[in-house]
């Protein structure tokens, strides 16, 4: 193996400015920096890529690990000088070969990633699937949610198109323009480490719960004047009832027969204010939204959906009258018949 493939892998930190070095752990850090503090230190990989071996000690000190970890805590395999040869041919191979160091401390989050779509891609052989350091950084790890908009920006590194759509949605605009912390970022719906595939039927069937987790929270909705009965009224209708039963059945229905979920009418990343001019559910656009599934629906058809309103005499008199009518009729009928039965029995048994 040529000399140039001898890659030395070190993260270097400088603890002197901030705090006292814990013993043992940080042993050798200064030794590491003797070489890796040199900005020009780099190797050329077999792929031809140059890999800088410089470690910016100030950046590391400012990271969440600064002052807590020493080089060899992560680079535990580096034991000798000069370092052993490493078999990595490309920068990516190096990253993938090394990222599992995180699990030594962050085991729970690491094991969650094994259930995620990114890991599934990696396991299928997609070397570009993100691993820990792609989202979190390596020597410069800082809190991923400070500020909150950083979460969505991190995802945007790869998911550019969908991030742009999100940024112009009611949620995205509030997040980026108003610095509003109430709105969901990518990870609130998709989760962060165990990201589920959103094309998965099971995940889709569970999606109304995601929306409901905020939209049924009165405290959260009050400042925006939004109804918290959206879930309840959805479930009371065909779509919601069918969706909830499909879920209980455990065997997800074929995607083409899935009932309408929140996102099918309101949109996913492009969710607009329900009463705004671009809303898919505002009266002027609702029929078109219905027709996505109900081909040939006429103008009246979209009125069959009560737009999450509960029946009232003013808004939906027909439904209200039916409701009140049966509320009287059923007890009257059943009570009357039961009374007759009791009177008959009384006559037969007691009052002969």
């Amino acid at each position: 193996m040529p000399h140039s493939t001898l890659i030395t892998l070190l993260a270097v930190l400088s603890l002197q400015p901030t705090q006292v070095s814990p013993p043992a752990k940080n042993e050798g850090t200064e030794q590491c920096l003797a070489c890796h503090g040199d900005k020009s230190l780099s190797v050329t990989l077999p792929s031809g890529e140059a890999r800088s071996l410089f470690v910016d000690q100030e950046r590391f000190a400012g990271s969440v690990h600064g002052g807590k970890l020493g080089c060899v805590d992560c680079h535990a395999d580096v034991q000798e000088l000069p370092h052993k040869s490493r078999p990595f041919r490309t920068r990516r191979e190096f990253t993938i070969g090394y990222y599992e160091q995180c699990k030594r401390c962050h085991f729970s989050n690491y094991s969650k990633t094994l259930d995620g779509v990114h890991y599934a891609s990696l396991a299928r052989g997609d070397r570009n699937a993100p691993v820990c350091v792609d989202c979190h950084g390596a020597h410069d790890v800082t809190s991923p949610a400070k500020p909150r908009s950083r979460i969505s920006q991190t995802c945007a590194t790869c998911h550019e198109g969908v991030s742009r759509t999100y940024a112009s949605s009611v949620h995205g605009r509030a997040l980026f323009e108003e610095k509003n912390a109430d709105v969901p970022t990518c990870t609130d719906c998709h989760r962060s480490h165990d990201i589920a595939g959103p094309r998965n039927t099971d995940w889709r069937l569970r999606s109304p719960e995601l929306c409901a987790s905020c939209h049924t929270n009165e405290q959260l909705m009050a400042p925006y004047g939004l109804s918290t009965k959206v879930m309840q009224t959805y479930l009371a209708d065909f779509h919601g009832m069918t969706a909830s039963l499909h879920r209980s059945e455990g065997k997800p229905a074929e995607p083409q027969v899935l009932p309408a979920l929140c996102v099918d009418c309101h949109g996913v990343h492009d969710i607009a204010k329900a009463k705004g001019p671009t809303s898919a559910v505002i009266k002027a656009n609702l029929l078109k939204t219905c027709q996505k599934c109900h081909a040939g629906a006429s103008q009246n058809f979209s009125d069959a959906w009560l737009s999450h309103y509960e029946p009232s005499l003013k808004r939906t008199p027909m439904i209200f009258i039916v409701k009140i009518g049966y509320a009287f009729l059923i007890p009257f009928m059943i009570g009357g018949l039961a009374l007759q039965i009791l009177l008959h029995l009384w006559r037969v048994v007691v009052n002969r």
Binding site: E249, M318, M333, L337
Partner: protein, 228 residues
């Protein structure tokens, strides 16, 4: 002379058994849909093969029931119009008098029981209740089955209104049957344990004389006039 009299024709007996089976099927597949969020509904739906299959069964049974009712009513109307049917099921003022008389008897205000003809007021009530209820569930059921067609001519609100009416009417029918019909056909001391007439088509002369004295009197008269 036979101890029994034929009360129901073969056709009537078949109609009853059909309604019974269809009513049960529609109740079992319909009530869990109305009460889908109660604890017992999901297990019932799962046992029956999931909501899609439950709906399929409900639709099939509903359409069969519709056919049965349409055939029954057109035949009945035809027979009445051509004068070939007795009007024994038509409610009369006498039925109201009988109801009041029966109530008085139950309350012990009189010891004289109402004397009924071929059908007493309770049986007429049940028959017309079933016919009217059937019309409501069939019409609303068709609106729910063909919402695109229904809303081409009617306002959209008709769909959720039909859903509410369909479920409530079905629930009421179910309660009337399990309380009133089961009492009158099985649990009532008059017939306990089982009034078999609608299945065998026969009623004993003894019971007929007791439950339908006016009809029985007419029958005896006819029999005597036929005897030489």
């Amino acid at each position: 002379m036979s101890r029994y009299v034929v009360r129901f024709s073969v056709r009537q007996r078949i109609e009853h058994v059909s309604v019974m089976i269809l009513f049960l099927t529609l109740s079992v597949t319909g009530l869990p849909q109305k009460f889908f969020d109660s604890w017992w509904a999901t297990p019932v739906i799962l046992v029956l093969g999931g909501i899609d299959q439950v709906r399929w069964i409900h639709h099939a049974a509903g359409l069969t029931f519709t056919l049965l009712i349409v055939v029954h009513l057109t035949t009945a109307i035809g027979l009445v119009v051509t004068g070939r049917s007795p009007l024994s099921l038509v409610p009369t003022r006498q039925d109201f008098r009988d109801a009041i008389q029966t109530l008085k008897y139950y309350l012990g205000m009189t010891d004289e029981q109402a004397r009924f003809d071929r059908f007493d007021y309770r049986q007429k009530f049940e028959y017309w209740g079933l016919v009217l209820g059937a019309v409501v569930v069939i019409v609303t059921g068709l609106v729910l089955y063909f919402p695109l067609l229904a809303t081409r001519y009617l306002p959209g609100e008709i769909v959720p209104a039909a859903k509410l009416a369909h479920g409530n009417e079905g629930l009421m029918a179910f309660l009337v049957v399990i309380i009133w019909h089961i009492y009158n056909a099985h649990l009532s001391p008059d017939v306990f344990p089982f009034d078999t007439s609608i299945f065998t088509g026969k009623i004993s002369r003894k019971r007929m004389a007791h439950e339908h004295p006016l009809e029985y009197a007419r029958l005896q008269e006819a029999e005597q006039s036929r005897e030489p």
